[in-house]
């Protein structure tokens, strides 16, 4: 099994090393998967050890003070999606953010009322 070091010593990996350094080389996050447009909101919880947080964690927390989607956070902090997901999963494990699925998991469909609202909104653009 290759060590983590080997994985990142590929010459082609140049631009990747920095973003994933933020995640200590992790490319997969812990816990339940979440959608790109899941809504992230801070819980108002406090972290016992502030040293556990990177500056990027703090940036993410600041954005999530109002409900914000995973993709909007990735775009606003200008980090690749995969990196942001790992940061979000860290924050969730620490109880600092809640991540809410965009549509109820059991239906996986957008309800008709929402579709009509979208239609109405588009016509008014």
């Amino acid at each position: 099994m290759p060590s983590n070091d080997e994985r990142w010593l590929d010459a082609e990996a140049g631009p990747v090393v920095r973003p994933y350094a933020l995640t200590q080389g992790r490319t997969r996050h812990a816990g339940e998967a979440f959608d790109l447009v899941a809504t992230v909101t801070t819980t108002g919880g406090r972290v016992a050890d502030p040293g556990a947080l990177a500056p990027e964690h703090i940036s993410v927390l600041q954005l999530a003070r109002v409900p914000t989607t995973v993709v909007d956070i990735a775009s606003d902090v200008d980090l690749p999606l995969g990196v942001v997901r790992i940061l979000l999963a860290d924050l969730r494990e620490l109880g600092l953010v809640a991540i809410q699925a965009p549509v109820p998991a059991q239906t996986r469909q957008i309800d008709r009322n929402t579709l009509r609202e979208v239609l109405h909104g588009l016509r008014a653009l």
Binding site: D72, G82, P102, R112, L119
Partner: protein
């Protein structure tokens, strides 16, 4: 527990709804232009597994990915209301990006397949993808200057599409036109939702 934060943000009892729409099509067909015409463009980077380009691997299942590289995606946001936001994702046409599609497609409202009449075959893979997964989609023909105009019916035959599937002409540069494309998609999704389940696909 997570209470109090919605109140703090002045959003008590309101659910923030985020809706995905996919925009597929071959390279250079105008996806970036269409996203920019109708929505607020935002930078978004994602990761692409680095595999040996050009060399086809028959079976990569179970093989640990060596590493990834970051790629920029077309991504746009349309705020319809404070609590209702549309997200447009331009999905690259090349097969090596399809790992992104499954995730994007999950729970998506539907998809727009943007096509260029000069290179219609470029959109076959996208059509095939959405048909297989029962994701509602429409075809938008980007009418490039100098390209021959085809009747929607000719395109329907060429792409072997169901009669009920909307095909719209558009100018990806125009906001009004891009808006019409989105409206056509949502109307189509509503009409498909009206059909009894058994009639789908036949």
């Amino acid at each position: 527990m997570a209470y109090g934060h919605y109140d703090a943000a002045g959003m008590a009892g309101r659910r923030h709804r985020a809706i995905k729409i996919l925009l597929a099509g071959g390279f250079g067909v105008g996806k970036t232009t269409l996203v920019g015409a109708v929505s607020e463009i935002k930078p978004l980077r994602t990761e692409e597994p680095l595999t040996e380009r050009g060399a086809r691997t028959d079976n990569i299942a179970g093989v640990e990915r060596k590493t990834t590289t970051t790629v920029a995606m077309d991504f746009g946001r349309i705020t319809l209301r404070e609590d209702l936001v549309l997200y447009l994702f331009g999905t690259p046409g090349q097969e090596r990006f399809w790992f992104m599609w499954d995730e994007l497609a999950l729970g998506a409202l539907g998809a727009i397949v943007l096509a260029d009449t000069r290179r219609l075959a470029d959109c076959f893979p996208a059509i095939d993808y959405f048909e297989r997964r029962d994701i509602p989609f429409i075809i938008a023909l980007n009418c490039f200057a100098g390209a021959r105009r085809y009747a929607a019916d000719d395109v329907r035959v060429a792409l072997d599409l169901d009669r009920g599937l909307p095909i719209v002409m558009c100018d990806a540069r125009s906001k009004e036109s891009a808006k019409e494309v989105l409206i056509t998609l949502v109307e189509h999704v509503l009409s498909v939702a009206d059909e009894p389940l058994s009639s789908s696909g036949i």
